[in-house]
């Protein structure tokens, strides 16, 4: 167990990667063999993520993993200075928290896709891409090196776009695949340009090394601007969000859940760069208010555009976009006051980070439920479906739980994190809390619309309950939603507070873990 825990950071990337490339081979032996193989890979990965998280939370400081070196990680130059040159994974509480979220969503999505692909062929390559996407997301969250972050960013871009355009017989999925790939590639290249600028300016690629050297010079600011915009675009902030409804809407239902984890990993990268890499070297007031401006636009535009959508998956996609705004709001408020350090800044961070976990569970649940709805009614148009609640009681219940939780109805989990965000952003400026609350109410209206259109009404013919293989992952996520809602204090103290504090006040510990005292 100890060896597994020590090597967990790299195994979390290596095991899904190996599984991804082995899946087409195993798939030769039949569908059950492939399902068992992929299922065991993802279960092992999930268990590893839990093990690593327990270890890191107990450790209290970042866990550093050196790829390829047991004898320290500095190469002495002739002048005697040591420069960290190896690729290092640095897992602090925030990275472990994100790994937990990814593991939960990947488990649910993969399990769901087993029965989703029962009636179709081609599932081998689909599961291979899904494992590749999972490996890339874990890599983005665990790495401590900027160029490695870029590489995993591109891996997730390629895997995600492969999954979005997987069903090549559908016209819209190809259009969505091209658009999303073009935008992801553009943001990836600009992130690489920023990494190159930082390397040229400071001579290293390691995040802790750069953090100890970065200042407010012109080159640093150009790099910051490129990284901020590139990663905000990948996360889905308005007005850079227009790829998100295409991506989430055209991907197969279980993929959309994992794509949300992808966006959250980019959001994590943004937070890591803003809090740990740049710290307080560039004016945190300006950076915080840039994030808050993004957040307000995202919240408002996301939820209002969701109200007028006709396609159920695009509607849930727009609400996913709007929830990213809540995370940006919470963390933006925290960043804006992170020099003066009032207590409400810490509360805002807790709210924003907790909302990442809540949103992943709720949106995952909603996308899986929408997959079930589309399968039962045969259409994605909200104007053509109806009456599914009569025979699909379980699906209705799970959809209701996910929708109410996301809209922030007590006692579910969305309310807990939104409560923290409202109360702390109110202290910074009342307008923020007002817009956030109004958007929550409008989100409830959006989900009433979906519920009314899809589930209420006279029953159609020939509708049966969703297969159990699709119901169980929904049940797992619904149980997670309810538990997170009923015991928020427990989860905040154990999971969210260490993660948020690692960003809020853990910059020096992060740097010290690699560069020493």
């Amino acid at each position: 167990m100890n060896a597994l825990t020590v090597h967990a950071p790299v195994l979390l990337v290596a095991v899904p990667l190996l599984g991804a490339f082995a899946t087409p081979l195993v798939g030769r032996f039949g569908r059950s063999a492939r399902n068992v193989f992929v299922g065991s890979v993802i279960l092992f990965t999930g268990a590893l993520a839990g093990l690593m998280a327990a270890h890191v939370f107990g450790l209290g400081e970042p866990l550093v993993y050196v790829l390829g070196g047991a004898d320290g990680f500095g190469v002495p130059l002739p002048s005697g200075m040591q420069v960290p040159v190896r690729i290092l994974f640095e897992v602090d509480a925030m990275s472990a928290f994100m790994a937990l979220i990814t593991a939960l969503v990947a488990l649910a999505g993969t399990w769901y896709s087993f029965s989703y692909w029962r009636e179709r062929s081609g599932g081998d390559l689909y599961h291979s891409l899904l494992l590749l996407l999972t490996a890339g997301i874990f890599g983005m969250e665990l790495t401590g090196d900027m160029f490695n972050f870029f590489v995993f960013l591109e891996v997730t871009s390629i895997a995600a776009c492969g999954l979005i355009g997987f069903r090549v017989w559908l016209k819209h999925s190809q259009e969505a695949g091209f658009k999303v790939m073009a935008l992801y590639t553009l943001s990836g290249i600009l992130v690489l340009l920023a990494v190159g600028l930082l390397y040229g300016e400071h001579g290293g690629l390691n995040i802790a090394y750069l953090a100890s050297r970065v200042g407010g010079s012109l080159v640093d600011r150009i790099a910051l601007g490129l990284l901020l915009t590139g990663l905000a675009m990948k996360a889905g902030a308005v007005p850079l969000h227009m790829w998100a409804p295409d991506a989430y809407g055209e991907a197969p239902a279980p993929t959309s859940a994992v794509l949300v984890a992808n966006s959250q990993a980019s959001l994590y990268g943004l937070f890591r760069i803003l809090f740990t890499l740049y710290g307080a070297t560039v004016s945190v007031g300006a950076l915080g208010w840039i994030l808050i401006a993004f957040a307000l636009l995202t919240i408002a535009v996301g939820v209002t555009m969701a109200l007028v959508q006709r396609d159920i998956k695009r509607l849930i996609a727009y609400s996913a976009v709007s929830q990213i705004g809540y995370m940006l709001l919470g963390v933006g408020v925290g960043l804006a006051v992170s020099v003066a350090r009032p207590e409400f800044g810490r509360t805002a961070m807790h709210g924003g980070i907790f909302h990442m976990l809540n949103d992943a569970a709720c949106i995952g649940l909603l996308f899986l439920a929408s997959g079930a709805v589309i399968r039962a009614s045969g259409t994605r148009d909200l104007n053509k479906m109806g009456g599914l609640a009569h025979r699909m009681g379980w699906t209705t219940g799970f959809f209701l739980i996910g929708a109410l939780a996301l809209a922030g109805v007590p006692p579910l989990n969305g309310f807990a994190s939104k409560f923290l965000i409202y109360e702390s952003s109110f202290r910074l400026s009342p307008i923020l809390a007002v817009i956030a609350i109004l958007a929550s109410i409008m989100l409830l209206a959006v989900f009433v619309k979906v519920f009314q259109a899809a589930f209420l009404g006279p029953p159609p013919d020939g509708v049966t309950e969703t297969p159990t293989g699709m119901l169980v992952p929904m049940a797992v996520l619904a149980v997670a939603v309810v538990l997170l809602g009923l015991f928020p204090g427990f989860f905040i103290d154990r999971l969210v507070a260490p993660a948020a504090d690692a960003l809020w006040s853990g910059r020096d510990i992060y740097i010290r873990a690699i560069l020493g005292g």
Binding site: K179, A182, L183, L186, S187, L190, G216, R221, I222, L224, G225, L226, L228, T229, A232, M233, P239, L240, M242, W243, V282, S283, A286, I290, T304, M305, L307, V308, R310, E343, F344, T347, D381, L382, N383, K384, M385, G386, G387, P410, P411, F415, A416, F419, L420, E423, S424, F426, A445, V448, K449, G457, P458, G485, L486, F487, P488, G489, F490, I492
Partner: protein, 113 residues
């Protein structure tokens, strides 16, 4: 016990659930004091439509998707007309937004301390 507290207030979901359970208990108590002679699936549970009969085919009555919030969308028609027009769907417009926001962020970062 496991509640969370922000600077202003506190939230304890267990207390909330217990409160609602208490309210439901009172409601169940009141309900049990009512009449016991009403039956389901008889004429007592028929919908009252001002004396008319229920239509044979209920499918036409279902208020679907877009029609549910028609009034609200109409009220925000000006906003929606402009914002929906901005979501053109053309990839080059998406990149134009990206470059625009990038320029704005550069300007802001150049001006602050």
């Amino acid at each position: 016990m496991n509640g969370i507290s922000s600077g202003f207030g506190a939230w304890n979901p267990i207390a909330w659930v217990l409160l609602f359970a208490g309210v439901f208990a009172i409601a169940a108590l009141v309900r049990s004091l009512g009449r016991v002679d009403s039956k389901r699936n008889t004429g007592q549970s028929k919908v009252f439509l001002s004396g008319n009969d229920e239509p044979a085919d209920l499918r036409g009555l279902h208020v679907r998707g877009d029609h549910l919030y028609w009034g609200m969308v109409e009220g925000l028609a000006g906003y929606y007309r402009r914002v929906r027009a901005l979501h053109t769907g053309v990839i080059t417009d998406y990149v134009a937004w990206f470059v625009g926001v990038l320029g704005l962020v550069f300007v802001i970062l150049a001006l602050v301390r």
